[in-house]
């Protein structure tokens, strides 16, 4: 790792990889991807189910296969990659401060692409009453524990929120012989895709309740139940459960660049964003397409529009 780059891409998921590869194709020389995980791929590494790649690669594949395709392209490229490294800050003088097991350093760059993805909204940020037991997982965290950690996270699950990740985790539990009591959605439409609704819920006989939400968590130690409210009748009922999976929506992870935002929300011209850090996308394919454009824009900024 040197300390001067033309482009630093923060985040080595599909968005970061696609942006970096395109920037290189457009003539940018010294490109670095900084990934906090131990390998490139980001959230795709925990997506062992299929449903990826139809638009981008013209064939359907699993998330892990999608990531592998990109990793192969990365290894054929001249883009430098550093994993196991956290970006601590990005400052107005175009300095990116990083920390990893070898040290803490300041890197200088002409431009930054923020491709840090998104995070899940935790249930603790809602006005849910009751106790704070264990056994409550955000869907993405549950998926990681199940698919990457190889752990068992419990039985008799209630899923709150019908976003795609929640649906996929419901299926994941059902496939492991775990009982999924139901999915409760506050709106009157399913948050996830029709395809996921059919494949993840209907196929396993998991009921989906619209206009329902969880108002209270019960249990000392491990969760023992939830109070569910029917928004139309106002009626509340207790449902015993051993696990609560929440899929309450995704929030772009932009904290690194927030200190650089102007009052009107605009960013310095040398900062670019793509993927779910820019706005939450429905598919990874859409992320990859968008990130390619972002990579080209960053390249144009760096090279001044001329191929070097």
């Amino acid at each position: 790792m040197r300390d001067i780059y033309d482009l630093i891409v923060i985040g080595g998921g599909p968005a970061g990889m696609a942006a970096a590869l395109t920037a290189e194709e457009c003539g940018v020389d010294r490109i670095l991807i900084i990934e906090r995980g131990e390998r490139l791929g980001g959230i795709l590494n925990q997506c062992t189910h299929s449903g990826f790649g139809a638009a981008y690669f013209g064939e359907e594949m699993t998330g892990t296969e999608f990531a592998e395709r990109f990793r192969e392209r990365m290894s054929d490229s001249g883009v430098e990659v550093i994993t196991g490294t956290m970006v601590l800050s990005v400052s107005a003088d175009r300095t990116v401060t990083v920390s990893n097991k070898s040290g803490c350093a300041e890197l200088h760059t002409k431009a930054v692409v923020l491709a840090t993805g998104c995070r899940e909204r935790p249930i603790s940020s809602l006005h849910v009453t009751g106790t704070r037991p264990s056994g409550v997982f955000e869907a993405g965290a549950a998926q990681k524990m199940l698919n990457l950690g190889g752990y068992d996270i419990g039985d008799d699950a209630v899923v709150l929120g019908s976003g795609d990740v929640g649906l996929v985790v419901a299926r994941c539990l059902a496939q492991r012989g775990r009982r999924v009591i139901g999915v409760f959605e506050i709106r009157d439409v399913c948050g996830g895709s029709d395809k996921n609704r059919t494949e993840c819920l209907d196929f396993y006989g998991i009921p989906l309740y619209f206009r329902h939400t969880v108002t209270r968590i019960h249990g000392e130690g491990r969760i023992s139940g939830v109070t569910v409210k029917d928004l139309d009748s106002g009626a509340e009922r207790y449902i015993g459960c051993g696990t609560l999976i929440t899929s309450l929506g995704l929030v772009p992870e932009r904290e690194l660049i927030e200190p650089l935002e102007a009052e009107d929300g605009s960013l310095p011209e040398w900062i670019f964003t793509c993927g779910d850090a820019r706005t939450v996308h429905d598919t990874v394919d859409a992320v990859a397409f968008e990130a390619e454009k972002t990579g080209a824009e960053a390249a144009e900024y760096i090279t001044g529009g001329t191929d070097i």
């Binding site: 956290m86 920390s99 603790s124 704070r132 965290a141 950690g149 039985d155």
Partner: protein, 505 residues
């Protein structure tokens, strides 16, 4: 293993930890018995985090004396213990005549108590200090000495310093019986019998029950619940002082069984969060940690009165606390019933008639501020009773733990060259490294649960509330403690996170 001690402290909350620290100052062989797995898991983990000046209580009481003295010494204490302390000052505000009366009374009281840096200020200066307050502030009592500290950070530091000076801690040791013996007591837990010359009962919400293991009931605890909100560090700077509100619609005496007679308090914590609370609602349960709708509704109403612009979109968590209100009890119709008003002074009982058995029952606000003073009080009594002198080998300094987020790039880099795990950031919201977590696990007494790591390092207390790092924290705990990840608890008994196929409920 020793089974005979000079002093046995029951309860490892803030008070128990400080009492142990003061006992070992006298070279007394001290053991702390705690029913839970870690320090500060009860009322110490959930309160308003305020270091008070001593203007809120009546002159001449032990509570007032201790509070005023403790506040003056708090910088020194926190320096000794390596604890973050912010002397941010406080504004007690009012919007009308009832509140103004209370403020003026507290101002006069504070002066009489010897509190320095107190001023009554008008609306203009109040809004200069806190521009986001609701319109219509009538006046404020400004107290420059008020501060804030994280209660669990303070408690962990006191415990570590006590342990470093020889105090023993036994966790998962619930006291089931206490009996007299020649020259002292036998304290029985589920696993052992401890022979001790003195007992100091610091059992928090359960202090009355512990005392009644041997003595007739005299004072019992009737808790009240306080719900709180925590705002993300994104709201940092929205307030810069502890703000408390003296409401106009405060209920008079006799309102104990009703809710909501306290105003709102807002605290800018040392970690950059804003703490909002507490509601003050009746409860019949000593079970900690259940938030309720009526409490949230009260907080929301108070927020709209005091600070309507408070960015509630940055709320990351809610929790509830219990306040241990002591009441005299008397026998009526075969059972003990509450008698009179809640006791406002600290209740320090010597039910045996001498300093061999000392009970702190119902140490509520400003208990955190006074924890060291109370501990010293108990230790001086015990030392006099046992004829012990101060031990010159006692070292009051507990080195501050490494917090990489507070260091410069060069300092971090140097540290990482020596210990690479300080370079690996595990909690992205709070920027906590693997090294800090390993330190927390190997401190004595160390973290054994995910929440124990949170109390010591802050990890998992940020905006994602552990969604990102909890698996890693579980794996680290398992690796360092040489156990299976499935054995790691979130918090108290039964709070398993991962399940083995065979242990499923």
């Amino acid at each position: 293993m020793r089974t005979e001690y000079d002093a046995t402290v029951i309860g490892a909350g803030l008070l128990g930890c400080f009492t142990a620290r003061e006992l070992v100052r006298y070279g007394l062989h001290t053991i702390v018995l705690e029913q839970r797995e870690d320090v500060c898991t009860g009322i110490s983990r959930a309160n308003s985090a305020i270091v008070y000046t001593g203007c809120d209580t009546k002159p001449g009481t032990i509570k007032t004396e201790m509070c005023v003295r403790a506040n003056r010494g708090f910088d020194t204490l926190c320096r000794e213990l390596g604890v973050r302390f912010s002397r941010c000052g406080s504004l007690m505000i009012c919007f009308g005549p009832c509140g103004l009366g209370v403020l003026e009374k507290k101002y006069a009281q504070g002066l009489e108590n010897g509190v320095q840096g107190l001023r009554m200020i008008g609306p203009e200066e109040t809004y200069d200090l806190e521009p986001n307050l609701a319109p219509g502030v009538r006046a404020a009592l400004y107290a420059e000495g008020t501060g804030t500290v994280l209660p669990w950070e303070l408690g962990c530091a006191a415990a570590e310093n006590a342990a470093a000076n020889g105090a023993e801690f036994r966790f998962c040791s619930r006291v089931l019986g206490i009996s007299r013996r020649e020259g002292g007591y036998t304290v029985s837990t589920d696993t052992e019998n401890i022979r001790t010359r003195c007992v100091i009962n610091c059992a928090g919400l359960f202090a009355d029950e512990v005392q009644e293991l041997l003595f007739a009931p005299s004072v019992r605890l009737f808790p009240k619940r306080g719900d709180y909100y925590v705002l993300d560090t994104k709201a940092e700077g929205f307030i810069s002082h502890v703000i408390s509100h003296e409401p106009e619609d405060k209920k008079k005496d006799g309102g104990f069984d009703k809710g909501g007679d306290k105003g709102l308090t807002l605290v800018p914590t040392v970690e950059g969060n804003i703490l909002v609370g507490p509601s003050n609602m009746p409860t019949d349960s000593k079970r900690l940690g259940s938030t309720e709708r009526d409490g949230f509704e009260l907080l929301d109403r108070r927020i709209s009165e005091v600070m309507p612009g408070l960015p509630m979109r940055h709320m990351i968590r809610s929790f509830s606390s219990l306040r241990p209100n002591p009441f005299q009890v008397e026998l009526a119709g075969g059972e003990y019933v509450r008698n009179g008003k809640s006791i406002s002074n600290f209740t320090i009982a010597e039910p045996a008639g001498d300093a061999s058995f000392l009970s702190f029952i119902g140490i509520k606000t400003p208990g955190m501020t006074c924890a060291q003073e109370l501990g010293r009080y108990a230790a001086e009594k015990a030392a006099a009773y046992l004829g012990a002198k101060e031990d010159p080998r006692f070292d009051p300094v507990r080195p501050a733990p490494v917090r990489t987020a507070d260091l410069s790039v060069a300092e971090r880099d140097a540290l990482i060259k020596d210990r690479p795990d300080y370079g690996r950031i595990v909690c992205r919201c709070r920027g906590v490294s693997e090294g800090e977590m390993i330190d927390a696990i190997h401190s004595k007494p160390g973290a054994v649960t995910v929440d124990g790591i949170k109390r010591r390092t802050g990890a998992g207390g940020g905006r994602c509330q552990g969604g990102f790092c909890s698996q890693k924290v579980i794996e680290l705990l398992a690796r360092e403690r040489r156990c299976l990840p499935e054995e790691i608890m979130k918090d108290g008994p039964g709070s398993y996170i991962l399940t083995g196929g065979e242990t499923d409920a």
